[in-house]
């Protein structure tokens, strides 16, 4: 049994224009100490998938079905009060925007000790001591001084590290990192990724890394799930994925990397993501696929096994690269 099991998860939102299906029938697993990357372009449903685990989606408008099990325990039906026990302690989140994700009116120290005192019965001093250790863990120099500082006094990279410190404070089983490096300079990115690697090695934390940056995926992830229009279109261990991408979308993403540029021109995937309001029984990628044929419009391809741990949903998958 895996640490985290997501089975047939479907998430939709009630909007003025109707029910928007953000995630359609996704299943994936996460093991201890594993770094799983959820990748795809904006709007493919990767954030929504991840946020379904701690249930941080807007309560009034979210329509969720399927199962999310942590250590065998079903999370989707937990009463809110119990869910609050899970958040911050078993499952925690590092958000995308370090600038705005920290409360500007409270000190860094307060925001870290807050989560510590919520979940572990620590005295104020003990919590403060632990907070200093956490700041050291994430590589922030002069941690004792930082405790009294406010978010606006820190640089973007440091704020992100503080967010990580808050997220790992109570040694969570699963850490969800939502585009943790997107808002940062490339030079800082490497440092943040090192922190994640370190956490995985030292604490055995399982990490779900949401990103659209395949470079980050190659750098740090063990396995990757490629999502498109709310569905998983390919899943594989990272080395296998980069060696043998099967789904045309995955191939398109890799070709779009600057490193794959030919004659100084970036390859792009033409066309746009289909509307999330409809869900016809056909391949969602057909309008943009270079390998599209008639059967792609007749039915939706489901995930098929191609090799050990490698799944792809395509009627005409690519061969070896």
């Amino acid at each position: 049994m895996s640490l985290l099991e997501i089975t047939n998860l479907t998430v939709g939102f009630d909007t003025e224009d109707g029910l928007v299906q953000a995630v359609r029938d996704i299943s994936l697993t996460l093991d201890e100490g594993e770094i799983l990357a959820l990748c795809g372009e904006s709007g493919c449903g990767k954030s929504v998938t991840a946020m379904s685990v701690p249930r941080l989606l807007p309560p009034d408008t979210t329509r969720l079905s399927g199962s999310v099990k942590l250590d065998g325990r079903e999370l989707t039906t937990l009463p809110e009060r119990d869910m609050r026990q899970v958040r911050g302690k078993d499952v925690s989140v590092v958000f995308q925007e370090p600038m705005t994700s920290l409360n500007p009116s409270f000190t860094v120290g307060y925001q870290i000790t807050e989560v510590l005192r919520r979940h572990e019965r620590l005295s104020r001093q003990a919590a403060a001591g632990r907070a200093v250790e956490l700041l050291e863990l994430v590589g922030i120099p002069a941690p004792r001084r930082r405790m009294k500082e406010y978010p606006h006094q820190l640089s973007g990279g440091m704020r992100q590290r503080v967010m990580i410190a808050i997220a790992v404070a109570c040694s969570p089983r699963v850490l969800i990192a939502d585009e943790p490096t997107t808002a940062l300079d490339v030079t800082i990115q490497a440092g943040v990724l090192d922190v994640f690697r370190d956490l995985r090695d030292r604490l055995g934390t399982a990490i779900i890394l949401i990103t659209h940056d395949l470079g980050v995926v190659a750098d740090i992830a063990d396995r990757a799930v490629v999502m498109y229009a709310g569905r998983a279109v390919e899943q594989a261990p990272v080395t296998e994925l980069f060696a043998n991408p099967r789904h045309p979308y995955t191939l398109g993403l890799m070709n779009a990397l600057p490193s794959a540029a030919v004659n100084g021109r970036l390859a792009e995937i033409p066309g746009m993501v289909p509307s999330p309001l409809t869900d016809p029984d056909e391949c969602a990628f057909q309008d943009r696929c270079p390998r599209v044929q008639d059967d792609c419009r007749a039915a939706r391809p489901s995930l098929e096994r191609h090799a050990d741990g490698h799944l792809a949903a395509c009627f005409h998958p690519g061969g070896k690269r």
Partner: protein
């Protein structure tokens, strides 16, 4: 932070200076002889002369201003033309009354206004929100002296549970004092509460949709903590600013409220003084109001700086 306070104090002093000049000149702009004006229309020539001498009205203007400042700082505001009593005494008697009324009204306004604003923001789009917003609009539109009249009509004339007017000093009889203050404080506080409610609601809505609230929730904090600590804390600056801005309205409102409920306060003193052309009193009253107003705004600015860490730490530039 210290620099900030000093700069604001400096600003306040300049404003006070300019205001005092305006007030000083105001009296002397009137047609006719200032001494007669100040002595009142029924005063005998001898009294007029005494006033002229006492107030140095035969001296050149700048010297007069200096006298004026000196006198003000020593609390000498002259004598009321109504009854020749020292103005300072009259003020000392009336001011606490208005202060009590204003404080009670502010209390009502904060409790009701901020409370309703938070409730409306947290329960956005639901009944509580509509009720609170409706109340907010009504409070802004209804002239509160009319509200006072209606209040009297309802509570005093029709139901007879509260007295229609009058005042009993707190030191004399606390129960009676409060009973007479309930309606005026409610009436005065309502308009203010409406404005506070709107501002609090909008500030809280902004805070509740902010990223840091999402972070707070992801920590598993209770909803009370998320709303009460994280969201509210960041809305306080707006609330405090509004408080400061609306103080002028509160003072104006007190004047009218005292008129309706016949409360012998500072406000009523002002109106009576104007109607009877009691210039020494008018001058003193206006000056004291301005001083009070500037002081409170200064306090609000300091409170704002205190609440906003960015300014607190950098000794900030505000505009």
């Amino acid at each position: 932070m210290l620099w900030f306070i000093l700069r604001r104090c400096g600003s306040a002093v300049i404003v006070l200076f300019l205001a005092s000049v305006l007030i000083f000149l105001g009296i002397r702009v009137l047609p006719g002889d200032p001494a007669t004006v100040m002595a009142g229309e029924e005063a005998s020539p001898a009294v007029v002369e005494a006033i002229r001498h006492e107030f140095g009205l035969d001296k050149p203007l700048p010297a007069q201003y200096l006298d004026y400042v000196g006198q003000t700082l020593t609390g000498n505001f002259g004598r009321s033309t109504q009854d020749q009593l020292p103005v300072i005494d009259i003020i000392a008697e009336r001011l606490p009354v208005t202060l009590e009324l204003s404080l009670l009204a502010m209390l009502v306004a904060i409790v009701v206004g901020v409370g309703a604003g938070i409730a409306a923001a947290v329960r956005r789009g639901r009944l509580a929100d509509y009720v609170a917003t409706g109340f907010g609009l009504a409070g802004l539109s209804v002239p509160h002296f009319w509200l006072g009249l209606l209040g009297i009509l309802l509570f005093a004339v029709t139901w007879r549970i509260l007295p229609a007017s009058g005042y009993v000093p707190f030191t004399q009889d606390p129960a009676q004092n409060l009973q007479r203050m309930i309606l005026p404080a409610l009436v005065l506080g309502t308009g203010f509460a409406a404005i506070l409610m709107r501002q609090t609601r909008s500030a809280m809505l902004g805070a509740l949709s902010a990223d840091y609230v999402r972070t707070a929730r992801s920590k598993g904090l209770s909803e009370a903590k998320v709303v009460g600590a994280h969201a509210l804390r960041n809305s306080l600056t707006t609330v405090v600013t509004v408080l400061g801005l609306q103080l002028g309205a509160l003072i104006s409102g007190a004047v009218v409220t005292e008129q309706i409920f016949v409360i012998p306060g500072f406000g009523k003193l002002t109106v009576d003084a104007v109607l009877t052309r009691n210039y020494p009193v008018i001058q003193a009253v206006v000056l004291i109001t301005v001083i009070g107003y500037v002081l409170v705004n200064l306090l609000v600015d300091i409170a704002y700086a205190f609440l906003n860490p960015r300014i607190r730490l950098s000794g900030g530039t505000r505009d």
